[in-house]
Symmetry: C2
Subunit: 418 residues, 2 copies
């Protein structure tokens, strides 16, 4: 079984919204062994919807549609599908009860128009909406479309995601016969082309059914090793062999071969070692602290962060000496080390990381250009701080992101050898 995804909505075509729904659905379908052939975004005008859906239903066995199912007037998907399949509407008692329950819960009146929202395409398998009002539908098409499946869901991500997980995935997993296994290989501190050179031998000899994709991101590249097949044990074996080979070649740049973030990896290392961390940030403005505390349970190892943006704050809060700033400048390894040291002392943490740099767009000079960042790590055990300077190229937002990534990388490197 192959699938296509159709995303309805003018806001997608105007660039006012990024199509995260399609990525979610595609990832979820991959997980149950249903490959996605195309993703199409089109307008909510009826003739256009009819034409896009016709093409997709002629090409593949499963077409998943999101958007245009809500209560407002720009929601026309149900009408288009009625026309396409030449079917009427029928009341879904379950969907109607769900609506009534939701209204009562919110203390709202049960209006006559509520029944309209619970009307579904004749012969649908109704997908309950546990997060909102509009019901979803799984529709088996007639002979004209070779009995292919059409799935309709609202475009609100939380509603659609719950429908996928609770109803759509179990439904189609039961019908699918192929197995797909994706293993991410997450790296840091290496670029796409260097990585490609490093693993060229492996790429030359991929087992049949296995592919290797490069996924560059703001601060490096991740890999995705995908294997498709019929027998789970063979798929597993082929996938593992490639992942293992890559880890052997490029292990020192790899922080995970599963779906975890760098900050989660760091959190796990800190917990395992029973260590606590604190951060002192200038140019990253709180982003390093925010990323570390994105991890559930981070309060057990993250003690404190200092966002010392002004020179005065660096002196008063972290005890950085005025003379140091005057001699070397606020953006210097000397000041970074003093910030890390002060942060360690003030917080009582076992390890502290500090950032000071120039995110831009202004504030740069020939000696200290926009994109320059000084990083320092101080450790209680050794009583010493080490530092380094890096240069990035990007706008303010990208620089902040890369600075924070570099700071987390330093922390990770340090914890690996600690």
């Amino acid at each position: 079984m192959r699938a296509e995804i159709v995303s309805i909505g003018d806001e997608l075509l105007k660039g006012q919204r990024v199509n995260t729904n399609a990525a979610f659905i595609a990832g979820a379908l991959s997980g149950i062994g249903v490959p996605v052939g195309r993703i199409v975004s089109c307008s909510d005008l009826e003739p256009e919807m009819v034409s896009v859906l016709t093409e997709s239903l002629e090409r593949v066995e499963l077409v998943i549609v999101t958007g245009g199912l809500g209560p407002t007037r720009d929601d026309r998907t149900r009408n288009a599908v009625q026309k396409l399949l030449q079917r009427g509407l029928e009341l879904s008692e379950d969907a109607y009860e769900n609506l009534v329950d939701r209204m009562k819960l919110r203390g709202l009146e049960i209006s006559a128009s509520l029944r309209d929202q619970a009307m579904v395409i004749e012969g649908s398998h109704v997908i309950p909406n546990t997060k909102g009002t509009a019901a979803g539908m799984i529709i088996r098409c007639s002979e004209r479309f070779d009995h292919h499946y059409l799935v309709l869901m609202p475009g609100v991500p939380s509603e659609m995601e719950a429908m996928m997980e609770l109803t759509v995935l179990p439904y189609f997993a039961a019908l699918s016969s192929t197995v797909i296994l994706h293993t991410p290989v997450k790296t840091i501190g290496i670029g796409e082309s260097t990585m490609a050179e490093m693993i060229v031998d492996i790429e030359d000899r991929l087992p049949e059914g296995t592919t290797l994709a490069y996924l560059p991101h703001a601060a490096g590249v991740n890999l995705m090793i995908s294997t498709i097949g019929v027998r789970p044990d063979e798929v597993d074996r082929d996938n593992c062999s490639v992942v293992d080979a890559i880890v052997q070649k490029a292990g020192k740049f790899i922080f995970a071969t599963c779906d975890v973030t760098l900050e989660e990896t760091i959190g796990r290392m800190l917990s395992e070692k029973g260590m606590t961390v604190a951060v002192a940030e200038s140019c990253t403005g709180g982003l390093v602290a925010s990323r570390l505390t994105d991890v559930a349970g981070s309060s057990s190892y993250f003690l404190q962060g200092f966002v010392t943006y002004s020179n005065q704050a660096k002196q008063k809060t972290l005890g950085v000496q005025k003379e140091l700033i005057e001699s070397f400048g606020a953006v210097s390894e000397e000041v970074a080390r003093a910030m890390a040291g002060g942060c360690l002392a003030k917080s009582g943490a076992d390890i502290a990381v500090a950032t000071t740099g120039i995110a831009g767009p202004s504030g740069g000079s020939p000696e200290k250009p926009v994109g320059m960042v000084c990083l320092a790590i101080a450790q209680k055990l050794s009583g010493r701080a080490h530092s380094k300077t890096l240069f990035m190229q990007g706008d303010r937002e990208r620089n902040k992101c890369r600075f924070s990534e570099a700071a987390l990388r330093e922390l990770w490197e340090c914890l690996r050898v600690a």
Copy 2:
């Protein structure tokens, strides 16, 4: 002239990457009056690319393709287009020089394979790549495709964005005859359905050619008023009249009618009033500070942030009294006010905002559930702090985002009346 966007790459179809490129291109094309009819993501297999490009080129005058132009072997777009248009390759001297320059700058060898990267489809208008190596192309197709335009760009967002802005947009703006005007109406503290009820009269009487879209986001809803027409003055007049009417009805929830963020708006207000700000964060973990410092020039008003995650840090760094935490708990308005007051005193800022709450997934109780946040603002001038408690529903990441949005909203409200 109408356009379609084709995004090449298996990572899109596997859900490993969200298609942000298409949204950027669609938004940019809208801005020059070129509406986008469809966005199609497809695999990088040659027959599939040829078939998707054929369909698009038959439908519309301009087809913009991203992806598959890099140096690695899964980059097959150029080959597919050669086959589709039955054209050969030629060396672009400009692209070659750019490559050589970039290699020299990075101290790398000039390899023989570099010439291959500078080969473009015969008869292309070359799009210089100011951020990377692969050259882009604007290709005028032959009669078979009615002399429609095909644009090829790499999939790396920064490279593609620079190409759009420097070359592609000016090129096609000159060919386009319709005018599109989009005005965002940015709100905070109001949901989609409440907003829809509030402006139902306006939506009922939109001028012809004007549409109104709701763009819900993590912490509320934005509106986009779009007007399409031929005469710039009429487009401008119709668009303005709708925006003005919405501002009259819902002004107190609107922080901007242009493309600025809430943090930029707050930054402008602080600068205008000559005020400085500091933040004390517990549950938001640095996110409020990071958002405030996302704004270029924020160092002129943002003094300092304290991420006091542990109770000890709240006491030691912000001077929150131990008894207060013991009596009311760390998540309480009392502690939030003490944090804001301590932050004000320690930083010397004119206004301070504090957050303490439970982001989850654990740490909640029946009295203080996950999603609860206490916010406080302290002002130097009044010498007083005020506070409030809010309840959100979401996972950890979403709660952090909403907490930070609520804190920024408090700051904005305060600055409006200050």
